[in-house]
Symmetry: C2
Subunit: 211 residues, 2 copies
DNA sequence: TCGTGTGAATCACTTCACAGCT
DNA sequence: AGCTGTGAAGTGATTCACACGA
């Protein structure tokens, strides 16, 4: 089913278009042109048209795209819009913040389990969830049907935690630890590297002084 | 000075190499080959050599690269290794977490100011910093010599906050709000989009079911 | 006439392959 | 013999430009 070959770059823009489309739709706007959609998504019109063409031909020449229709079609491609529950491992500052961030719930990725190894933290209740120990991970994943893992541990612990997640059957992992982890090919790991983002900004800031 | 044309993709990998090199150096390792460095950074040897070649020719044929030397050279390119202080706007869950995250301090991006608009939050002290009101931003930037801005507000407030940051003289912004903001060309904005990361994972998870 | 859909052209990044230094 | 440095080839993404339908 839907075996379109969506380039990674287009994929990440589609999620941005979708959010923009939901906003448009909520304010009663029925159709939108590639130029308008580009404008509010920080893209450009060719890219928008090319990206949307991967989904099929859902636009009308001379008119534009129906917002409702596009939202539905993008939703189908992005994973059928069934919610995908996530477990979060590593209850430090960042872990606590993410576990309370409503945005994930709203986007269809509810956090349904919390895990740590620190005995001082295990047993604590955050946002209605009790923090479990790492050795209860497999059971937790089974009980909650979680399919996503979020790693917010220190760098040193990340590889072990990822191994446990994979062992427990998780195949999609978002890694906030500033380290590259090894996994088998069937597992998809995405890294969010805050220190790198800062350094890139720092680089451009530095460059600006020599123009 | 140093007007090399570093591709964006190489730039982000250099930050990863540097962290790996610091670890190697700390454990007493003096030289490293492109293959070894690739292994621990999740890259490959051609990419490592090409990336490092943008800095100049600091390797020794038949031997590899001196860890200390590379750390220094990457540091120079990434912005002279002077610390770049940052102000953070938006003291919600994520803002609180980031303001306590030691990683930034360590990487040379200390958070030196906190800002919000909620009167209940303004005046609060977090990690030794008192939260200021948005209208004190310009003064805060002036007093602290901040050069980076971090936006952790809700989407709806992000554009206004970014305008204030730019007004206050900030030219490099890291935006965690799930919205694309408009800025003049001289300002660099990088977006960290957590919802998009989840959706991309969700897409691959979905795909796996139809192989 | 307006805006989509798409081949073709361009640009950017990656990988290959090997000459040359140690 | 081993490993770097780098042109050249290959791959993938972006932009262009225009035919076509509403």
């Amino acid at each position: 089913m839907s075996n379109l070959n969506l380039p990674e770059a287009a994929l990440s823009r589609l999620t941005v278009y979708q959010r923009a489309l939901v906003e448009l739709s909520d304010s009663g706007i029925k159709t939108v042109s590639s130029r308008e959609l580009a404008e509010i998504s920080g893209s450009n019109e060719s890219k928008v048209r090319k990206d949307l063409s991967y989904l099929g031909s859902y636009g009308t020449r001379g008119v534009g795209y129906e917002t409702e229709r596009l939202i539905k079609e993008i939703g189908v491609v992005l994973g059928g819009s069934q919610p995908k529950p996530a477990v979060l491992v590593g209850i430090g500052n960042l872990g606590r913040a993410l576990s309370q961030y409503e945005g994930f719930q709203v986007s269809g990725f509810p956090i349904v389990g919390l895990v740590d190894i620190d005995p001082d933290v295990v047993g604590e209740t955050i946002n209605g969830l009790t923090v479990k120990n790492l050795d209860q991970l497999e059971e937790l994943v089974f009980q909650t049907s979680a399919v996503l893992g979020i790693v917010t541990t220190p760098a040193i612990a990340a590889q072990e935690v990822v191994d446990c997640l994979v062992e427990a059957g998780i195949r999609s992992i978002l890694n906030f630890a500033p380290v590259v982890v090894d996994v088998v090919d069937e597992v998809e790991v995405r890294r969010v590297d805050l220190a790198t983002e800062f350094q890139i900004l720092g680089y451009y800031d530095h460059l600006r002084k020599f123009d």
